[in-house]
Subunit: 327 residues, 2 copies
């Protein structure tokens, strides 16, 4: 099993350090003072010296995982280029095109596959971490025309080791998808919370579980929400426009005819189709990572909603949603 | 304990029939064929003959609870005016001004206090009902300048009997509040589900728990969402405009400076202030229902986020959020 070096020991990095250690890996990490001290107190090999951690990764050909917030990625990549210039590299940042661009510009010789585990809580920092955080989660793992397949494979094996399944997709597809399923929902939750709070104590007194569900993510630390939404600006803008168009149409219809059937039926059909993708029969397929079209096959798999469940030498086993319709 | 006659035995009416029976009340109900048959099969006194149920209520001076969907309210009120014209009446409909207007127009002699228990699931019908549905829920109970305080008191006692706490407020305040904490969240969930479903299987494969939380209510039967949102049109329109204004500002800021701090900070402050209203210290106060200013005192209590926890003869005991600030 390949060694793992985690840079950044907050919620995701700290959870990954714990989970990889539990899976039997040799692990070490680097982080800012508080998180590094907390990790050391918990018995882990953690330092504030990122350079030292990266040099050790270069020596042992470890997989380096960037788990710092997006605004800090460029600074760490500069250190990677200097101290582990050809390392196997992945990241857990919530946007993928900006990180891919930075890697190409700042650390062009690393072997990189961008990742994003779809797991988290509204808390942050080492103390919020949990070695079981990735159990059953989906782990987006990017595959472009030129992705290094050793980096892709090693990251996939780590993700599977810590209990996730792997969704291969391009960085562009990833950023569009998370704009829809994460960043737009965050903005909607912020607006709902602000609008509800405007009528003060009454909203708090009457709010039921469904309102708490709708606004839960608005309790996330503002700087984290800012980093993920602002960092995905290019993909988020057109998705926000789609949403504004749909809400504007609802507003116009409510004001004129008083009817909201089109909006409500579209939403109900949407949630039904999303549940169907989750619930339906799955077919197992295999992809040979040594085949010439391996990258294309992986991206096509993800595009259909497929998930990698096993990586065995150079063979990927995946489940693809079946055609059966449960609606 | 006063007898209870429930008209409409779907999710709310069916749950109330069960809960009131468990609390030791004599209960009977009327509903359309399927729900009435299911209630009878479960051992309850249920009929499809609304007239007969209302006549029995008039004879025993029972509390009549309207638990039919908003579009059916007027038809039932016409029957109430004919067969139980001076009965004690409440309802559990999700909007209050339209029902109050209908009661005044169609059954002007009844003693009425409008109610709305803040509880529910995405399912509907007798089978979805549950005698513990109201445990710990907030029950909005309207008080206007001319509200009959016997109807208000009898409904409050029933709500407390089935495990809820009671929030007194005016119909106008109620409709504005539920537009903010329920109807706007429903529309947002519909739009989120529709926008996410547009990129097909990928959204389903990557969606995590936070997305399911954000869109859960989009699984509600479309006709129920339509009835509640369209029925609250007058209050929902200005709230929808507030939300569109906030989202439009976010869109403009993201497109120009790229910054979303104002949107995100407002949302975080909102959710923090709502939690504070829920969590903080509470002071007990008492209101005498025989006092000349009882209605004003009740409405002021609700306006501060207060909840009635005990009704004893003519004295209401309530908890009001304290001044302490936990932020």
């Amino acid at each position: 099993m390949r060694d793992v070096c985690v840079i950044g020991l907050g919620l995701l990095g700290g959870s990954l350090l714990r989970a990889a250690a539990t899976a039997g890996r040799a692990v070490w990490g680097a982080a800012s003072g508080d998180d590094a001290a907390a990790a050391r107190a918990a018995g882990f090999d953690a330092t504030t010296d990122t350079t030292r951690a990266l040099r050790r990764a270069a020596e042992s050909d470890a997989l380096v995982v960037l788990a710092v917030p997006l605004p800090a990625v460029d600074e760490v990549l500069t250190l990677v280029a200097r101290h582990a210039p050809e390392c196997l590299l992945t990241d857990v940042t919530s946007v993928k095109t900006p990180v891919l661009t930075s890697v190409r510009e700042l650390a062009g010789r690393v072997r990189y596959a961008g990742g994003h585990p779809m797991a988290g809580t509204t808390d942050s920092g080492w103390a919020a971490g949990d070695g079981t955080l990735f159990d059953g989660a989906s782990w987006a793992l990017c595959v472009e025309d030129d992705t290094d397949l050793t980096a892709w494979r090693e990251t996939a094996v780590l993700a599977l080791d810590v209990g996730a399944t792997v969704c291969p997709l391009t960085a562009t597809e990833h950023d569009d998808t998370v704009a829809r399923i994460s960043h737009l929902p965050h903005l909607f939750a912020e607006v709902l919370a602000a609008v509800a709070a405007r009528n003060g104590p009454l909203a708090g007194a009457l709010a039921a579980g469904s309102f708490r569900d709708s606004t839960r993510v608005a309790a996330t630390r503002p700087e984290l929400v800012q980093a993920m939404t602002e960092g995905n600006r290019a993909a988020l803008l057109p998705v926000l426009d789609e949403a504004l168009g749909a809400l504007g149409a609802a507003r116009g219809s409510l004001a004129s005819t008083g009817g909201l059937a089109a909006t409500i039926n579209a939403g109900h059909a949407g949630v039904t189709s999303l549940q169907r993708h989750t619930l339906n029969d799955r077919t197992a397929i295999h992809i040979d990572l040594n085949a010439a079209d391996a990258r294309t096959a992986l991206a096509a798999l993800g595009h259909q909603g497929g998930r990698v469940t096993v990586v065995d030498d150079a063979t990927v086993t995946a489940e693809v949603p079946g055609e059966q319709d449960f609606s």
